[in-house]
């Protein structure tokens, strides 16, 4: 499932870049982080309990920085394994300076498998959207903390959209 969006921050690009590149600060942004340890500047690991209402989904997630071009582009892979689910996520963002602040064009390709998948897409897609929203909102706060207030979180809803639909083998 691919998700993408645009987001505006009332903060200089360097500030946003620092937040996005600092594992410790990203830990603040991710939902349900219980522990977090950095192996090196390209690899880190988080144990999370993603709150799903009916009970939280425990996962241990390995992050790997795939590519970065300071201060505008970065790509990251996250592989999560847990009892209920497996997650593979590749996400990237592009920062550009826009009217005094920073614009972030981002996209993510999320793939979820395992028992949680057997509950059906009708719940998976909304859940992914939901988590993305929370990350973005938290990111606003984090950027604000790092200096420069964040814009109203409505920026999130604006850009959020599904890039492509599932292609069913019998749908063609």
């Amino acid at each position: 499932m691919k998700v993408n969006g645009e987001r505006a921050f009332a903060a200089p690009r360097e500030t946003v870049w620092r937040v996005l590149q600092d594992p410790a600060q990203m830990a603040e942004v991710m939902p349900g982080v219980e522990s977090f340890d950095v192996h090196d500047d390209r690899h880190w690991r988080a144990n999370v309990a993603i709150p799903l209402g009916l009970g939280s989904l425990r996962m241990s997630i390995n992050f790997e920085k795939l590519e970065e071009r300071e201060p505008e582009f970065s790509q990251l892979r996250a592989k999560g394994t847990g009892v209920g689910a497996l997650m593979n996520l590749v996400t990237q963002f592009e920062l550009s300076e826009r009217d005094g602040g920073t614009a972030m064009a981002w996209e993510a390709d999320v793939r979820i498998a395992g028992p949680v998948g057997s509950m059906g897409q009708r719940v998976l897609k909304p859940i992914v959207n939901q988590q993305v929203q929370q990350v973005l909102t938290a990111l606003d706060a984090q950027v604000a903390k790092a200096g420069g207030g964040a814009e109203a979180p409505k920026g999130a809803e604006e850009g959020l959209s599904l890039l492509e639909e599932e292609s069913y083998s019998d749908e063609r």
């Binding site: 209402g53 009970g55 425990r58 057997s118 009708r122």
Partner: protein
């Protein structure tokens, strides 16, 4: 099919239930269990403690409010609601409850469970949203009452925070308002592909769409066909695609069921 290890308690008072829920991280209320048990079978969720609400007689009451509205305890089963003479205060509730799943599930499944699980395909969330009903939540710091807009937070997520539980549903008196519900289920009375509830009063419609987002989408419009269609189109829905419907199809169905719900209400 096999649950992970879990602890279990069946308190006999709401206070006891709240105490258990708030004193154990990872505790979940167990109502009818018609959703939670299945999610636990898949081990897609594994609560540490189940607090069984089935002994809480206080939550099984059905009563009329002074102004002719309806108060339904969260643990009232769908079958009890369907049979209750008091339910004719807002007949749509029983009418919709009778369309949920099957006899066995309705015998066990509860109003609170259906509302709190908030699976996007559930029947009751859009109904309570359209009727302007309120949910009462009890927690360690006492009781609060919230509207549907505040109550539904996301898929399987509501304003009921860890340590809290929903105790009752309060439905305002009709006062000349009339209600409708329409759905496109898979087969006859199967899971909803798309559904909508509507309340119409003096030509003004309040519509709540189900299955098209993480929470019911509430719209207002006049009861005329064009207005309703316009309102749904104006909502910029971004519904999920699944094996039963593409996002386009759901977007189209949302318009259809919204209109049908309004037309039923407008009678």
């Amino acid at each position: 099919m096999l649950l992970a290890e879990v602890e279990y308690a069946r308190p006999s008072t709401v206070e006891g239930a709240v105490r258990l829920l708030s004193s154990h991280a990872g505790a979940r209320p167990l109502a009818g269990g018609q959703t939670l048990t299945n999610v636990m079978k898949a081990r897609a969720a594994a609560p540490d403690v189940l607090v069984d609400l089935n002994d809480l007689e206080e939550l099984r009451q059905i009563s009329r409010t002074a102004d002719g509205g309806l108060e339904l305890g969260a643990m009232v089963t769908l079958s009890e609601l369907i049979r209750s003479p008091d339910a004719d205060a807002r007949p749509i509730l029983a009418e919709v409850a009778a369309q949920i799943a099957d006899v066995q599930v309705r015998n066990r499944g509860t109003i609170g469970g259906n509302i709190c699980s908030n699976d996007p395909t559930n029947h009751l969330p859009p109904v309570v949203a359209a009727l302007g009903a309120t949910m009462t939540i009890r927690g360690p710091d006492g009781e609060r009452t919230v509207t549907a807009e505040e109550f539904f937070v996301g898929v399987y997520m509501t304003a009921v925070a860890p340590g809290e539980l929903m105790t009752k549903l309060t439905v305002p008196a009709a006062d000349g308002a009339r209600d409708g519900f329409a759905s496109i289920p898979i087969g006859r009375d199967g899971t909803c592909i798309c559904n909508a509830a509507a309340t119409v009063e003096d030509g003004q419609a309040r519509i709540a769409l189900g299955c098209v987002a993480a929470v019911p989408v509430v719209l207002s419009s006049t009861a005329e066909e064009d207005a309703v269609r316009e309102a749904v189109r104006g909502a910029d829905l971004d519904p999920p695609s699944d094996v039963h419907a593409s996002d386009d199809y759901r977007r189209h169905l949302a318009e259809v069921v919204a209109l049908r719900a309004v037309q039923q209400a407008a009678g």
